[in-house]
């Protein structure tokens, strides 16, 4: 590995003080991607800025409005082990507990998974289904964008020079709603999605009609795909409607052929995973929590 300097600032102001000095800087949260990329020469830096000593970036809490505010460098295991998170946001737990094995989950963060901008990232479809937003900070202020606007292409995100991702914000979920994230991999654990789907449904008070649906697909395009399912609102939450959602998902998918799967397989997976995730989301929406 090429030599670099290392700092672990305690505050964001300290972070900004390390930027714009002509050095190639790189941010690190859990390091499970960044360290391997540095070792393999896929990234280079003069200064590595470790974000894990900044409390704001490694903590998480529900605010007074029920929004879960997660520091971008908080390790996944701490989030998905939390009893409140498990009860209130099982769709987030689906995704967070699938990223890598336990060793990776002890270190890896949602922020790192998002910034890495892999089309197959597990966190992004689930977070989009949940209506999450991202807070991006720089010395000149903060901006907030929906997760779906963060990805520009494989490995490319919307951060400008001098900016860093500081928070993932998951709003309080609507009443009678449920979210489910599913992926397909050829093993039981520890693999990268061949295709994946995150689905949130909100049921009407009658529990039979769909009030709204959000669907996002992973690994079937250069960035996560949001499926336009406005046509499903107001329809009965039955198998015909779920089948229609699967059809819409397969239509939106623009996968590639690679070592993990073929175009045909991925398009079929987009349909099947959407159907199963939607069934799971409806089931959760009907649970009383």
């Amino acid at each position: 590995m090429e030599a670099f300097d290392y700092v672990a600032p305690r505050t964001l102001d300290e972070v900004y003080g390390h930027l714009n000095n002509g050095k190639r800087t790189l941010f690190m949260a859990g390091g499970t991607d960044v360290i391997v990329q540095l070792r393999e020469g896929r990234r280079e830096c003069d200064l590595l800025i470790d974000l894990k000593r900044i409390e704001q970036l490694t903590s998480y809490a529900f605010d007074s409005e029920g929004t879960l505010v997660i520091g971008a460098a908080a390790p996944l295991a701490r989030i998905y082990e939390d009893v409140d998170v498990r009860r209130r946001l099982p769709g987030l737990v689906d995704a967070a507990s699938l990223i890598g094995g336990i060793q990776i989950q002890s270190r890896a963060s949602l922020g790192g998974n998002l910034c890495n901008a892999s089309p197959a990232a597990d966190s992004s479809p689930a977070l989009i289904a949940l209506g999450a937003t991202l807070v991006i900070a720089s010395v000149s202020g903060r901006r907030e964008i929906p997760v779906e606007e963060f990805f520009l292409g494989p490995g490319r995100n919307a951060l400008e020079p001098g900016e860093l991702l500081v928070e993932v914000r998951i709003p309080a979920q609507p009443p009678r709603s449920g979210t489910r994230y599913l992926r397909f991999i050829p093993r039981n654990e520890m693999d990268i999605a061949v295709a994946s789907a995150g689905v949130r449904v909100q049921l009407a008070p009658d529990s039979d009609t769909l009030e709204s649906v959000r669907i996002a697909l992973g690994a079937v395009g250069p960035t996560v795909k949001v499926v336009d399912v406005t046509s499903l609102a107001g329809r009965t939450a039955d198998s015909a409607t779920i089948e229609e959602a699967g059809r819409l998902a397969a239509e939106v998918a623009t996968p590639i052929d690679d070592m993990r799967g073929s175009i045909i397989q991925r398009r079929k997976l987009a349909r099947v995973l959407t159907i199963r995730a939607m069934e799971g989301a409806i089931e959760r929406a009907k649970e009383i929590r």
Binding site: Y6, G30, T32, I35, R39, G101, I102, R107
Partner: protein, 160 residues
Amino acid sequence: MTRTHVETRLNGVERDFLCEPRQSLLEVLRDELGLTGTKEGCNNGNCGACSVILDGRIVNSCCVLAVEIEGQDLQTIEGVAHGDQLHPLQSAFLDEAALQCGICTPGFIMASKALLDREPDADEARIRHWLAGNLCRCTGYDKIVRAVRRAETAMEEMNA
């Protein structure tokens, strides 16, 4: 390149060392501190051979920089036995012949210890799920899972 001074608690003892920022914890353990029980497998976070327990959590030491562990508590395979007395997991791995070439074994023991420290009655499915980040090319895993179950029983009897 200047070397950084790092202070840590290693297997219960205060310990300090010098390292370069680019050195992984795995590299420093093996090459600087002479603790070669922790093994290098893939060196990219896939195989778990280099698993150590950092502040109570199981991590791949190839995916942690040594400079990051300043002030933290680190357990490696060298700290698992008490003198000549093996940890129940170590005895169980021997009794069940849960190893062949042995490269993955320290990682499996550390990962299993991290699990049993938290969940002393984990069932087979939980053990298999927890150990998904540790790869073994020899045993086919069944013997390893049996060893962890045997260690659970032994530890339960010790605590009874």
